[in-house]
Every structure is written in structure tokens, then in C-alpha cells.
Symmetry: C2
Subunit: 691 residues, 2 copies
């Protein structure tokens, strides 16, 4: 039995490592394929070069800032925890950054090639953009599987299973903390540049989007990459790694004696890398409407996973296992994994409904724009709140079913299978900034109208894809955080039981401390997003001042006789974003530490805090990202010529909605995902220090 168990263990992890490497090799192949394409004419290369340079400059400085913070945390972990947790932290932080960095590098190469390919056909352009995005998708899942797998295997070899699992929390912290910074920094950057460029460019100087005379236009295009590509990649890398680690923790806790429990999440992840590769191939061989092809790829990818999960589950669990006092068959576990796959599909469809120009919600906002700015805003805010109902309802159903099938482990498996879809989902997401940039390059290079028509169409599809990914990211983050809360309770029980003899915490809603914790935790997403929006406002103000300065100093810019200095705008927004991200990013850590340190609060209030943050965080994040996506596409819908089209009163109102939606959907809302997990992971880590 032990031999067989060990055999499964080794071959299971090995299998997933092979899949991960395969995915990374395929990503490498895609990079080669993209680079081989023509980058267009001189003007296009020049613009793409400026974007690339700006993006690299930002990321370089972000790495420096984050490294300084990471170094402090590394030392703290080294002193207060142990060296393996500290090393895990560095690995997690590094891989999270790397996934975003490499993905973004290829995105800024793919943008001009997409614009160039648009001169051939819509399909060709779509494939270039998608393949560029797919690199990020494959990097996220490949690096996450490899880093967790190798670290776990080595740590297990040196420290034994228990300590290995504990050290993994360090890796999770590294991934999470970096992704909060990446998300916030990137989010503030992209929206400060966007809002700043729009405020002076569109409103004061009557310039079109992406007009090369606007000094902030390159910064705006850089922003798409550092926010939507690098930021989102770090975010989902983090959720993936944390979900995998959470599933390992829960598997070890509930089925400690049965090694397959720890291997199963790896295997699910490995299989879905294959699913993602098939999905990517699907896009490269299919024709038709871009939106349909991309949704088809998600379907194909999910189907492959669903089929292959079946034999894998039966192989790992040949006999029933006991979880929560009930015998669970392989069939039960398989059903739990299906819950995750189905949740992915459901969330994708729901978000698509609320943010696509083809359905009622976006059209309702567009219609409300006819009566002015205020009614556009009210309609958008209401739609965002309505949009929380179905995802949260389905999350409730998913929790119920997966728990029904296999207890807390079932929830962990459902989360892992949901996250395993990240390979294909992130491919869709990174498609967004590439097409957005391609459109920008097409406008700035004065490419023919047909080409700009194609890039515009792809951009609208990209908008919906970005919104869809955000829905997926927050729903999976909510579920992952619940698994982490379960780990917090188990860790606390183990630690407290060992050190204080009695452990009587039941986290009951009858306990006022739990209620106080729920309130404090519930507060966090509200103040966190408020600070994030303030940060965008401040950084955007810096951009506005710089653009105004340039336009005043060189009046020739607006007449097209003088070139603006794009670099200073990029520089200013880089500095502002990195400066402004610090306060909101540290907020969750400070909240947790404060509750842990202030004596009358303690572990029970902290438990309530974790759940409170998940509950309100989920709603705030979904409402913000949905409103934002819907406002953006309501504007697009009007710009397509509906309700008076561009230049109409309704259009002006829809621009207001879009601008309000910018920090909502691209800064504050999505940054809640990693924030929720930082809170949970920091809480787990400080248990032995404070309690």
C-alpha cells in the first residue's frame, strides 16, 4: 500500500510537471511564431517601440519598489517564521512577477503585429492577438504548477510533509502580496493615464482617443499592458497558486493518510494545461465571429478537462475515502471537480450577459444616457448591483454541491478545477490589451479605415473578454478565500490546541467577537477601494498637469507641428502609480496585524474579519467590475451609431459613465481579489507569532 501510494504520489506530481513543461514549451513556440510575423511599417514599429519602452520602464521600476518591500518581508519571515517559508515567499513573488513580465513583453510585440495582420484579414489579426495572449495564459498555469510542485517536492524531501505544507503558505504569501502590488500599481497606472489623457485630450482639446498629438497617449497604451496584462497575470497566477496550495493544505488535513488527496489537485491542473493547449489550437483552426470562436475555445478546453478528469480521478481514488465521516467514491470527487468547471462556464456566460453590447443591461445604460450624465451613472450603478445576484447565487450553489460531494476538500477541489481553466481564460484576457493597443497603433499610424474597423471590432470583443476574466477571477478568488479560511481555522486549532491546552473557538455568529470581526472585515473592501479610487484621482491629476504644461509650452503640438514628449508622461504616471499604490496595498496587512495585536480582539475577531472581507469583497468587486464593463460597452454601443452615435448628447453622457467605470473596473474592483487572499494568508502566517 505504501509503495503504491508513493508511486501514485511521484507519478502524479511528475505527470503534472510534464504537463506544465509542455505548456511552457508551447508558449515558447507561440512566442517564436508571433515574433516571426511582420511588425508593420516604420511608423508602426516606432509607436510600438515607444509603448514597449514605457512598459519596460514601468515594470523595471515596479520590480525595484516591490523588491524593497519583499526584502523586508523576507527578513521578517526569516526571523519570525522559518527559512523555508521565507524562501517560498521569494519563489512565489518571483514567479508571480515573471508570469506578468514575460506575458507583457510578448503582448507589446503582438500589438503591432496584430495591427499589421489586420491588413490581411480579421481572422489573421484575431489569431495573432489571441496567440500573444495565450503566452500569458500558459505562463500563468505552467509557472504556478512548476513552482508549487517543485517547491513542495523538495521541501517534502527535506522537511517531511507537514513542514512542507506549512512552508507553502510562504509561497502563497509571495504570490499574493506581489499580485496586490502588481494589480494596484498596474491598475492605478492604466487608469491614471487613461483618465488623465481623456480629461485634457478629449474634453479640453477635442482630441480623439489615441490621437498622437496627446502627450499622454503612449502612457495610456502602456497602461493597457501593465494593468490588464501584467496585473491580471500576477493576479490569476496568485489565485491559481493559492488555490493549489489551499487544496494541498485541506487535502493533507482531511485525508492526511491518503497521499492521493495531495496529488489530485496537481493532476487536475496538469490535465487542464492540455485542455488549454487544445483550446488554443481550436482558435487557430476555426473561422467565424471572433466572440464565438473565443467562447468555443473555452468550451473545447473545458470539455477536454471534463473528459480526462474522469479516468484520472478513478486512478487516484480506486477505493472510497472517508471525508467528514462519510465515505466518498471517485465519482463523488469527480462531481466536485465538475462543479468547478461548470462554475467557470456559468460565470463566463453571466458576465458576458451583463457587459456585452448585445444584451439588455448595456443597452439600458445606453438608453439612460439619452437623459444625461446622471441617469447614465444611476443606471450603471444599478446594473452593477444587479450583476452580483447570479454569480453569488451560483457560488452559493457551488459551495453547497461541492461540500455535499466531499466536504471542505470538495470545495477545495472545485476551486482547483475552476482555476485550472486559467490557462485558456487568461489567454482571452490578454487578448484585450493587445487588440486595444493594435487599435491605438492603427490610429496613430493612420492605417486605412478598413484596418481600423477590424481592430475596433476586435477591441470591443476584447472589452467583453476582459470583463469576463474579471468575473472569473473574483468568483474563483471568493471560493479560494473560503478554502483559506478553512485552513486558518485548522491551523489555529492545531497551534492553539498545542500551546494553550484548550481550544474552544467555534466562530459562532452568537459571539459578538465574530460579529465585530465581520464588521471590520466587511469594512476592508470599502475603504480599500475608496483609497484605490483616490489614488487614481491623484495620479490622473499629475498626468493632467503634465499634459497641460506641454500643450502650453509647445502650442505647435496641437497643430501637429511639434511632437509631444511622451516619455515625461510615462515617467510621471510611473512614479505616481508606484507611490499611490503603497497605502491601499498595505491596508489589508495592517488590518490583520491590528486585530491580532490589540489584545481584546484576537483570533476569533480575526476569523470573523476573514469571512467579512470575503462577503463584502465579493459583492463590491463584482458590482464594480460589472458596472465598469457595462459603462464601457454602453459607450461603444452608442459609438457604433446607436441612439445618436458619436458626438450626440447621449454619447457625452456615456463617456462620463465610461470614465467613472475606469477606476471601478480596472483598479479598485479587480484589486479586491488578491487583497482578500493577502488578508487570509497573512492571518494564517501570524497564528504562531501572536496567538
Amino acid at each position: 500500500m505504501t509503495f503504491l501510494a508513493l508511486d501514485i504520489l511521484k507519478s502524479g506530481v511528475a505527470f503534472s510537471m510534464v504537463c506544465a513543461v509542455l505548456g511552457l514549451l508551447f508558449a515558447f513556440f507561440l512566442i517564436k511564431a508571433v515574433i516571426r510575423l511582420s511588425a508593420g511599417n516604420d511608423r508602426m514599429r516606432q509607436i510600438a517601440g515607444a509603448i514597449e519602452e514605457g512598459a519596460k520602464a514601468y515594470l523595471k521600476r515596479q520590480v525595484v519598489t516591490i523588491s524593497a518591500i519583499a526584502a523586508v518581508i523576507f527578513v521578517l519571515l526569516f526571523i519570525f517564521r522559518d527559512k523555508f517559508t521565507a524562501i517560498g515567499f521569494v519563489i512565489g513573488a518571483f514567479c508571480s512577477l515573471a508570469a506578468g513580465y514575460i506575458g507583457m513583453r510578448i503582448a507589446v510585440l503582438a500589438n503591432t503585429r496584430t495591427a499589421q495582420a489586420a491588413s490581411q484579414s480579421r481572422s489573421a489579426a484575431m489569431r495573432v492577438a489571441f496567440n500573444g495572449g495565450a503566452v500569458t495564459g500558459l505562463l500563468v498555469v505552467g509557472l504556478a504548477l512548476l513552482s508549487v510542485g517543485i517547491f513542495y517536492t523538495l521541501a517534502k524531501h527535506w522537511l517531511g510533509h507537514d513542514m512542507a505544507v506549512k512552508s507553502l503558505v510562504g509561497l502563497a504569501l509571495g504570490a499574493s502580496l506581489i499580485s496586490v502590488f502588481a494589480r494596484l500599481g498596474g491598475g492605478i497606472y492604466t487608469k491614471a493615464a487613461d483618465v488623465g489623457a481623456d480629461l485634457v485630450g478629449k474634453i479640453e482639446s477635442n482630441l480623439e482617443e489615441d490621437d498622437p498629438r496627446n502627450p499622454a497617449t503612449i502612457a495610456d497604451n502602456v497602461g493597457d499592458n501593465v494593468g490588464d496584462c501584467a496585473g491580471m497575470a500576477a493576479d490569476v497566477f496568485e489565485t491559481y497558486a493559492v488555490s493549489l496550495i489551499g487544496a494541498i493544505l485541506v487535502g493533507a488535513l482531511t485525508l492526511g493518510s491518503y497521499p492521493a488527496a495531495v496529488i489530485y489537485p496537481f493532476v487536475l491542473g496538469g490535465i487542464s494545461v492540455l485542455g488549454a493547449v487544445i483550446g488554443i489550437l481550436f482558435v487557430n483552426i476555426s473561422g467565424g465571429r471572433p466572440g464565438t470562436v473565443l467562447m468555443g475555445a473555452v468550451g473545447a478546453s473545458g470539455l477536454v478537462s471534463a473528459i480526462l478528469y474522469w479516468p484520472a480521478t478513478h486512478l487516484l481514488f480506486p477505493a472510497a475515502v472517508t471525508i467528514g465521516g462519510i465515505a466518498r467514491s471517485a465519482g463523488d470527487l469527480y462531481l466536485a471537480s465538475l462543479v468547478g468547471l461548470l462554475m467557470t462556464g456559468v460565470v463566463v456566460l453571466i458576465t458576458n450577459y451583463y457587459t456585452s453590447t448585445r444584451y439588455a443591461p448595456v443597452r439600458k445604460i445606453a438608453k439612460a444616457s439619452e437623459t444625461g450624465h446622471a441617469t447614465n451613472i444611476i443606471a450603471g450603478l444599478a446594473i452593477g448591483q444587479h450583476a452580483t445576484a447570479l454569480p453569488v447565487g451560483f457560488i452559493g450553489i457551488a459551495i453547497f454541491l461541492s461540500y455535499h460531494f466531499a466536504g471542505l476538500y470538495g470545495i477545495a477541489i472545485a476551486v482547483m478545477s475552476m482555476l485550472s481553466m486559467a490557462g485558456i481564460i487568461i489567454s482571452l484576457d490578454a487578448f484585450g490589451p493587445i487588440t486595444d493597443n493594435a487599435g491605438g497603433i492603427a490610429v496613430m499610424s493612420n492605417l486605412p479605415k478598413e484596418i481600423r474597423g477590424i481592430t475596433d471590432e476586435l477591441d470591443a470583443v476584447g472589452n467583453t473578454m476582459k470583463a469576463v476574466t474579471k468575473g472569473y477571477a473574483i468568483a474563483s478568488a471568493g471560493l479560494a478565500a473560503l478554502v483559506l479560511f478553512g485552513s486558518y481555522v485548522e491551523e489555529l486549532k492545531a497551534h492553539y490546541g498545542a500551546n494553550h491546552r484548550t481550544y474552544t473557538f467555534d466562530f459562532s455568529l452568537n459571539d459578538p467577537k465574530v460579529i465585530i470581526g465581520l464588521f471590520i472585515g466587511g469594512l476592508l473592501p470599502f475603504v480599500f477601494t475608496a483609497f484605490s479610487m483616490d489614488a487614481v484621482g491623484k495620479a490622473a491629476g499629475a498626468v493632467v498637469r503634465e499634459v497641460r504644461r506641454q500643450l502650453t509650452a509647445k502650442p505647435g503640438i496641437l497643430r501637429g507641428e511639434d511632437t509631444p514628449d511622451y516619455g515625461t508622461c510615462v515617467d510621471i504616471v510611473t512614479k505616481a502609480a508606484l507611490r499611490e499604490m503603497i497605502v491601499p496595498a498595505l491596508l489589508p496587512v495592517l488590518f490583520v496585524l491590528a486585530v491580532a495585536i490589540i489584545k481584546p480582539l484576537g483570533p476569533v475577531v480575526l476569523g470573523g474579519l476573514l469571512v467579512g472581507t470575503i462577503v463584502t469583497g465579493l459583492f463590491v468587486a463584482i458590482a464594480m467590475t460589472s458596472s465598469g464593463g457595462a459603462w464601457d460597452n454602453a459607450k461603444k454601443y452608442i459609438e457604433e451609431g446607436n441612439l445618436g452615435g458619436k458626438g450626440s448628447f447621449a454619447h457625452a453622457a456615456s463617456v462620463t459613465g465610461d470614465t467613472v467605470g475606469d477606476p471601478y473596473k480596472d483598479t479598485a474592483g479587480p484589486a479586491i481579489n488578491p487583497m482578500i487572499k493577502v488578508v487570509n494568508i497573512v492571518a494564517i502566517l501570524i497564528i504562531p507569532i501572536f496567538f
Copy 2:
């Protein structure tokens, strides 16, 4: 001992009844005093008459609609519960409506008299408006104390203590359900009329606020009364009655053998009626800035209560009592009651900070208006979210302290002492619509500029007072709901224990059912407010169509040659408000019933739902009402001549913020208070039916 106990019981309730009657007599005296004043010239009387007529017409139809719904519930309660609960329901519903109705009747008499008194002096005008509002304040506390006191005494006489306490839940339901309808109906009415009048009047036809040529202007003024006066009165009546009943329930549960526990909340309420009377007299003898005088009245009122609570507490609790296994002295209970008084002060000061034109938040929004509509909105949304931090933090501290002093009973006492301040707080609130209307009448009657200056100044103070009351209402509602959740758990324990032998519910956060409940409950405020905002949008659309129709049919209206038909606008918005309030008002009831009926959910999920609704409801309500108040006063701040003043670009942006804030602060946000309590009370009521 029994004799002494009975003695205390009788004299305690008798004392509070005497105080209540005293308060009502003083209200009667104020009514007489207000009516005696001059109602101004013919034009003023005519306009005030139109407002009065519109308000009466609305309330009449509202009574008919609500009565139909109440009749159905009465029958259901009669069949599924018992006749005393059903009778209690009718009494609660009737008194809730009566407090709002009478208060509103006197408010529509005070408005024109305030405008007339402004021709004498600012102080005179302020006193008339305040005394008119004070009628509502005294009615709310007087009727609540009397209805609960008499019903409890009679029911106890006929049914014994246990059944009397149970039947009180019926009275609470009556008060709550009616107040949801009154809040929503009034809120939709006032904002539909306001937004509708603004959209066509200000934006399309360039009319000033309250221009008599606008056919919707009377409806707008009617709205102030049915929303801010009648709606708020019903809301706080409900919170008061529910808190009193909650304290009785908890007192009976934790200190069943000690009658003073049930009497204490009555006595606190009675004392504070005296405090309110002193506060009202304070306003009538003081001079100075209106804002300062009104805040001084709150201070005087609180001080009187704080002083008189001390001997009363020691008289009722001559020896220590045991709560939660710990002996509590009269000093402990007194401290718990002080927590409630202090919370009132703290919440009033915080809300004042976030919504007054004199502090940073409002000025920040005003400043953000300079860069346009979108930045105004972003700033306002961020301020609303920031504004949640301090109140929720203090609520946490209040829960911690009052629980520390006397367990769950301590929380109930703190809530009751907080609510006991309602007499003076509601006086401030009703001051708002009276001064608002006085301003409207002054404009429509072309009174001299000086008079309009005075009414404008009082109107701005009234704005802040309305916001302050909303902060108070939601904070106290959150605390009251926690007491109700405690009652739910105790009721469930008693019922389930008796019927199913085992009772093992611990409502632990480890139980996925609790998490699912928190999610479902957390969802409720989001969809409830979304539906409420939709309702305003639809009703406002009806107003817009009617105004456009009149202006097209009679072009003379805009030239001032033809009189608009105010009546049809009043009629249309009345019907629309009553129609649109149904869906959101039934939502909380449906949620609770669905969770109770769907088998796999049941009592534990329902418990989670109750807490989830409180947690997110508190944040959503505070954020919405604070944003709304701040937007409104940011506009006022600019209109005072700052940042370019009226007609500037910043002013246009601030009008957008104000319009977005309208449904936020006057419809959706405040309606969350009664909604939270309906959810909790319905849950308590259905325990014996479904579990």
C-alpha cells in the same frame, strides 16, 4: 420581593406611559402654536394648499395600497400564528402610519409659516420650522412607547408574560413592514418628482429650482414631505418600537425572573421624552447660528437623559443581577446605556463631518467637479465608502463595550438608549423638508431676496440635519438588528429544542451553510437598492413624459402666460411610486421565505442570511446616504459662489452628482434600515411555521 417586583413593574411602565403622554401633550401644544401663526399672503397660502393637498392625496392612496397588503398579512398571521400577534401587527402598522401622517400634516402647515416668519428674523423662521418638526419627533417616541407599553401590559394581563412577549413580534412586524413601504413609496415619490422635475425643468427648459412654470414643481415639494417627513418618521418609529421590543425579548430571555429587566427599556425611553422636551425648549430660547443651536439641543437632550438614567438604573437594579454567568451591578447597566447615548453623539458628529459644506470631504467633491462630471462622481463614490469606516468602527466598539458591561442585554440596552434620542433627532430631520418647502414657497411666491436668503441658509442646515438623521437611523438599525438576530437564535433554540429534541445549531463560520447564508443575506441590500434605483428611474420617466406633454400642449406655460396642471403630475408620480415600491418591498420577505421553504437550506442558512444582510446592509446604507448628502452639499457649496459658482462648468458637474445622489440618499440607502429589520422579524415569526 414579589410584591416589590410587581410594584416596580407597574410603576416603571406607568412612569414611561406618563412621560409618553406628556410628550404627546407637548406635541399638541406645539401644533397649536404653529397653527396660530400667520400663513402669509394669498399666493403663499395657495401654494402651500397645493402642496398640502398633494401630500394628503398621496398618503391617502398609500394607506389604501398598504392596507390591502396589511389585510393579507393580518389573515396569514391569524391563521399561521395567533390572534394576538395579528392584532399586534395591526397596532404596529397603524401607529407607524399615524406618526408619519400626523407629522406630515403639521409639516405642510409649518412650511408656509416658516417662510412668513423669515420676514421677521432668521431665528423666528428657524423656530417655526423646528417646532413643526418637533411634533413628528415627539409623536414617534410617544406613540411607540404608548403602543408597545399598552399592548404589552394588556397582553401580559390576558396571556401571561411569555405569550405577551411573543405577540409583541407581531407589533414589530407591523411597524417594520409599513415602514419599508412608507420609506420606499415616499423615497421613490420624492426622488422621481425631484429627478423628473430637474431633468425636464433645469436641463431641457432652463428653469430654476422651484420655478412655478414647471408642472412638476408642486410634486417635488410634496415629495419632500412624503419622503423625508412621513417616510423617515415611519422608519424611526419602527426602529424605536423594534428596539424596545427587542430589549424586552432579550431582557425576558436573559433575566426572565427579574421584572426590572423588562421595565428598564421603558424607563429609559420615558426619561428621554423629558430630555427631548428640554431640547425643544432649548431651541426656543437660544439664539445664534441655526446649526449650532440644533446641535446644542441634541447635547442638552442627551445630557438630561444621561443624568436621569443614573438614579433610574439604581432604583430598578438595587442589587447586582447575573447575566451570562457574571454579576452585573447597576453601574454596569448604566454604562451600557451611556454607550447608546455616546454612539448617538458620535454618529451625529461623523455624519456632520462627511456631509457638511464646512469640512474637507464635501469640498473635495466640489473641487473634483472642476474637472468634470466623471471626477465629481468618482470623488463622491469614494467619499461615501470612506464614510463607512468610522461609524462601523464605533459600532464595533459599542458592541464590544455594551456586551462587556452586560452581555446581549447590554447591547439591547445600548440600542434602546440610542433610540431613546429619537425624539430630538427626528425633530431635526423633519426640520429639513419644512425649510426645503419654505424655500420653495418663497421662490414661487416671489418673496423678497432677503427672505429667500434666510430660507436658503436654513435649507442647507436642513440638508445636513437630514443626512445626520440618516446616519443615526442606519447605525441604530444595525445594532437593533443584531439584537433581533439574538432573539432569532433564542426563539429557534426554544422552539427547536421543544419539537425536535436535539438542537445543535451553533451558526459557526466553519459551517458552509452559514457561509451560504451570509452570501444570500449579503446579496439582499445590493439587489434591493438596485431595484429601488430602477424604480426611481421608471417613476421619474413617467414624470418627464407628463411634463413634456404639458409643455408641448400649452406652450404658454413657459412664457408664464398659462398655468401648468400641477395635479396631474402629483397624480402620476403618486401612482408610479406606489406601483414601483411593491417589488423591492416584497424582496426581503421572499428571500426569507425561500430560504425557509427550500429544504436543504433551512434554519442555519437563514441565520447566516440575517447576519449577512446586516453586514453588507450597514455598509451600503452608510455609503449611499453619505455620498448623497455630500454630493448635495458640494453643489450647495459651489452655488454659494465657490469654484466659479452657479452656471460654471463645475456647477454643471455638481448638479450631476446631486442627481445621482438623490436616489442614493433618499430612496435606496435609507430604505435599507427597515428592510434589515423586516428580514429579521419575518425570520423570527416563521420559526414555528417552517422549522
